[in-house]
C-alpha cells in the first residue's frame, strides 16, 4: 500500500502504582506528560481520541467514557472519539486502529490513551472483578479469572515438555526488575536476587509473588500522526508503525488451540501475520516489549515470536539474550513485572519505550535499535496482539 504512513510521535505516562487518584485524574496526568514530549502540539490540534480501558466502566460508575476523557483533556475530536476494550491489549489495539485511521486519511493526529483504576474502595473487588475479564459463564466460575492459576499450569506444562527450569522463570523477573530499577514511572524500583524470587510467598506453584505482575493503577498516552504531521511536530527521528496483527482463535479454555498448554499456536499465527504485514522477520527485531504478565509468559513468547527455537525460551533467557547486548533485549523499561499492568495502558507504555529506543533516547538504550516490537496477550491467553515499529517506512 503506497501513500500515507503512520508514525508514533511522542508519549508519556503518569506514575503507576497504587494511586490516590481516579481514572480521569490519571488520564489527565498521562496526557500532560505526552504533550510535554511534543512541544508545540496543542490539544485542539488532535483530531482523534481512542481510549483503551476495560475496567473503567465497571470499577467506576461511568459508561461511555470516551467523551468524558476527550472533554477533560480539552480535545475536540472530529475524526474518531471511542473507547477500545481488549483488556490487556487495549492500548496496542488503539495504536493499530489509529494507524489505520491515519493511513486511510480519515485522521491526521490521534491520541491513544490507556488507563485502569484497579483499586476500588473495598479491596475484594480487585480480584473478584477478574471473573468478568475471561469467558464469564464458563471459565469464570472455574476460578481462572485471576490468571495466576492458568499460567501456573502453563509453566508446569512447559517444564514437563521442554525441561524449563524454575530458576529460568526466576531469571525473567530478576532481569526485568533490573531494567525497571531506573524507570521512575513504574510500580516498583527495586532489584531482585534469585533468592528473593525463590523464597517469595507462593501464589500458585511454581509461580511465586515475583513471577506475577502486580495489580496497578496507571495511565499512558501516545500521539499517532501522519508522516507529514509527524515531521511538523517533532525534530526527532521519525518512528513508523510498520504493521501488526491481532489473532483470536478461541475464548473458553476448553477450546485451547495448542497440543498442550506450553504450545501457543495462536501467538505463532499472530507473529507470522505481523511479520508479513510489516515485511520483516523475527531476526530483524532489535528490541522487544513482550507481555511478561508472568515470568513463564516471557519464556513462551520469545519462542513463539521466533526469537529462539520452540522450547528454548529458558536457555535463551539464561544465556543473556534478553539483556542489553543480547540478540533481542526484551522489556527494557521493566515490563509488566516491574512497571505493573493497568491493562488498557500497558500497550501504550510498551509503545513509549519502543519509541524512545528507536529514537536513541531510552534509559537502557539498545545500540542502534532500528526495529522494535510490542506484544500483548489478553484475557485467559485467548488473543495475541503485535505491533511492529521501525526507523524506516515499510518497503
Amino acid at each position: 500500500m503506497a501513500g500515507r504512513h503512520a508514525c508514533i510521535v511522542g508519549g508519556g505516562m503518569c506514575k503507576w502504582g497504587v494511586r490516590e487518584a481516579s481514572y480521569i485524574d490519571m488520564v489527565q496526568e498521562a496526557a500532560k506528560e505526552c504533550l510535554g514530549d511534543i512541544p508545540g502540539l496543542k490539544p485542539t490540534s488532535i483530531d482523534g481520541l481512542l481510549f483503551a480501558s476495560t475496567f473503567v466502566g465497571r470499577r467506576s460508575a461511568q459508561a461511555n467514557t470516551a467523551p468524558v476523557v476527550a472533554e477533560r483533556l480539552g480535545l475536540k475530536p472530529t475524526s474518531i472519539c471511542a473507547r477500545v476494550d481488549v483488556l490487556c491489549a487495549g492500548g496496542s489495539t488503539g495504536i493499530l486502529l489509529a494507524k489505520g485511521l491515519v493511513e486511510s486519511a480519515m485522521s491526521d493526529v490521534v491520541m491513544v490513551v490507556g488507563c485502569e483504576k484497579l483499586y476500588t474502595p473495598e479491596r475484594w473487588q480487585v480480584q473478584y472483578d477478574e471473573i468478568a475479564a475471561i469467558d464469564h459463564d464458563w471459565d469464570g466460575p472455574q476460578g481462572i479469572g485471576p490468571p495466576p492459576l492458568w499460567f501456573a499450569m502453563i509453566a508446569k506444562e512447559h517444564m514437563k515438555h521442554y525441561g524449563t527450569k524454575r530458576e529460568q522463570l526466576g531469571l525473567v523477573s530478576v532481569i526485568n526488575y533490573d531494567y525497571g530499577y531506573d524507570n521512575p514511572k513504574g510500580h516498583f524500583q527495586r532489584k531482585l536476587t534469585m533468592g528473593d524470587v525463590l523464597n517469595a510467598t507462593e501464589v500458585a506453584a511454581p509461580l511465586g509473588l515475583y513471577d506475577c505482575c502486580p495489580l496497578t493503577d496507571g495511565s499512558a498516552a501516545v500521539i499517532i500522526a501522519s508522516e507529514e504531521k509527524a515531521r511538523e511536530l517533532s525534530d526527532r527521528p521519525l518512528v513508523y508503525i510498520l504493521g501488526g496483527a491481532q489473532a483470536s482463535v478461541h475464548s473458553v479454555s476448553a477450546n485451547w488451540p495448542g497440543e498442550h498448554l506450553g504450545d501457543w499456536p495462536h501467538l505463532r499465527l499472530a507473529a507470522k501475520k505481523a511479520y508479513e504485514n510489516a515485511k520483516i522477520s523475527a531476526d530483524k527485531v532489535d528490541v522487544a516489549q513482550v507481555h511478561d504478565c508472568f515470568s513463564i509468559s516471557e519464556i513462551v513468547e520469545v519462542e513463539e515470536l521466533g526469537f529462539c527455537k520452540k522450547g528454548e525460551g529458558g536457555p535463551f533467557v539464561e544465556s543473556g539474550q534478553t539483556k542489553i547486548g543480547g540478540t533481542t533485549p526484551t522489556n527494557t523499561d521493566g515490563g509488566l513485572l516491574s512497571c505493573g499492568h493497568p491493562f488498557g495502558a500497558t500497550g501504550v507504555r510498551q509503545a513509549i519505550e519502543i519509541l524512545r529506543q528507536l529514537q536513541g533516547r531510552a534509559v537502557r538504550q539498545v545500540n542502534k535499535a532500528a526495529i522494535g516490537l510490542t506484544h500483548n496477550l489478553s484475557g485467559s491467553n485467548v488473543e495475541h496482539t503485535i505491533v511492529i515499529y521501525g526507523r524506516e517506512p515499510r518497503k
Binding site: 465497571r58 475484594w124 480480584q127 473478584y128 477478574e130 471473573i131 468478568a132 464469564h136 459463564d137 464458563w138 471459565d139 469464570g140 466460575p141 472455574q142 476460578g143 481462572i144 479469572g145 485471576p146 495466576p148 492459576l149 492458568w150 501456573a152 499450569m153 508446569k156 506444562e157 510467598t201 507462593e202 501464589v203 500458585a204 506453584a205 509473588l209 506475577c212 473458553v252 479454555s253 476448553a254 477450546n255 485451547w256 498442550h260 498448554l261
Partner: protein
Amino acid sequence: MAATGIPFLEGRYSPTLDMWPIEAKEFNRIYEFYENLREGKFTTTKCKKCGRVAYPPRVICPECYSDELEWIELPKKGKVAVAVEKWAGVPICYEPPLIDAWIDLGEDSPVRHVLSRMVNCPPETLKEGDEVQLVVFDVPAHPIELRKETKMAERVFFAFEPVKK
C-alpha cells in the same frame, strides 16, 4: 445482594457482580445445559447438518451456521493432565487454596479437555493421571421480575472432584 452505601439498592440483584451465569429460560436459549446438569448430565450441542460438536453449547453451529442442533452427553469422568493450587489473591468467593485442573476427557470425547475447579479435594493430593468426575451443586438463586410478582430462579453449576480409590 446487599448494597452497602447505596441504601435504596438494599436487597436488589445486579448481574454485573454475579459470578454465576443467568441460567433461567427467560434469559437464554441454552438453558437445557443447566437442566441436564441438574440431572447429573454434562452436555453440549451437536449440529444435525454437519455433525460438528461445539462446547460450550450454542444456538447456531459455528461451522455451517445451521440452527438445527441436538444435545449430546460428554464424558463425566476424566484424568488430570495438570493440577495447580492457588494460595494468594484468591477471590472472596473461594477459600484458599483454590485448586484447578486441566482435565483430559479422553481420546473418544469430542471435547478433549476442560478446565475445572476441583472440589472435595484436600490440598496437595491431586496429581497428574488421577481420575476425576463431574460434580453438580446448587449456587445462589436470583430474583426475576414477572408481571405482578417476583420469582426466585434456582441455579446449579459444576466442578470436578477426585474419584475415591
